[in-house]
Symmetry: C2
Amino acid sequence: MEAVTSGAEAERKVDYILKAAQKRLGLYGYSKTTMQEIAADISMSKAALYYYFPDKESLFKAVIENEQKEFFLQIEKRIAQLTDADTMIIELVELRHSLFRKFLNLSKFRLSDNTTMNPLLKDLYNRMREIEKKILTTVFNKGKESGIFQFDDASELAFLFSDLLQGIRIMEIKRMNGLELTEAENNHLIKMLREATSLFINGLKYNKLMQPTQ
Amino acid sequence: MEAVTSGAEAERKVDYILKAAQKRLGLYGYSKTTMQEIAADISMSKAALYYYFPDKESLFKAVIENEQKEFFLQIEKRIAQLTDADTMIIELVELRHSLFRKFLNLSKFRLSDNTTMNPLLKDLYNRMREIEKKILTTVFNKGKESGIFQFDDASELAFLFSDLLQGIRIMEIKRMNGLELTEAENNHLIKMLREATSLFINGLKYNKLMQPTQ
DNA sequence: CTTTGACTTTTTAAACAATATAGTCACATA
DNA sequence: TATGTGACTATATTGTTTAAAAAGTCAAAG
């Protein structure tokens, strides 16, 4: 799946290609970006791209992996600066939201396009959730240790919380009119996410109803 | 949108048609059910259907409205038997889940078919949520009056909660393999719904973080 | 008032051609 | 040898035509 080359020069070339691909991916999405166009953008021939990447999918996979790495790096950096589990979660939600928009340019990955790029999208999506859940699990456990949260199974909780947030995002996207998220729609979304998080944390702090699983 | 007739005899005939349409709708979905087939099922001519209903859409709209009416009737009946707001909400979620499956035969309304029947589906969906939110708002307010819930805006809360539940449903459906919800998948779904509801209620009971809106 | 068969119109589906894009390769150049 | 290219092939997408199916109409009849 990776580029076939080694050496610093080659690496710079690969980065160059990735940048170009990233730009078009963010702007037009997967299926509306051709290898020809990417090549032209950086004054190369299409064939040269195939020297560095075996196929289109691999190229874009590399783009996405790059962004994802940076994305989670920033999240963990911020989390590390905090001490309380509850503020960590709140921060996590906020950061996740803004970074997701910034790095992955979500708007272009939307429904219309998602039949063609399904394999890529699904992979991206699964990894995202996997890592997110791992981080959440850690934070929940930290809250439990420090005595402010009460619950049974942290990873199950992380699963639920992650689903719940994703659900809110989907519902907001379903409601929106155009193909882009307007400023108002985005504000509403972040407000919903905040409220849900706030209630969720509260629920964990005074959790008396929650039964042990099965 | 309604049948053009009056009189008890005509009404019985309309019911007869609706039953036949309902059966096929549940079995095959909107686009895979023809007027011809419905007519044949009850030994009528297709033209006769058009005497009672102006078009296909109206016929199926009537079917859906029928089921919806029955659906919410049962919910409100059950709610009326309860006194505590928190158990009301739990019951509401449980009932909503089982009745939705029973009456609206959700499985057939799914993604594959939803491009063709979009207008109908959207309408159905919007009404559902509208009524659901109304009921939720009432229950939340009841909880506030009796002093067990603390929050600012009941209808906003209903909106959030309703979204959140729907989000969990969607996430579970996205995860599922085949086209039908298996027993295991359904169990997982209902478990998630229960946990989310439980946490949500807890959050409302000890709500100290929740800020007044904006 | 209700029902129908025969009819017209509209929608959907299949088959095919035309186009665009992914991907290959023999050769060129440094 | 490592990198790059133009010209090629194979594959996937899109557009167009045609045929079939289904929606919807109507004059006439019971």
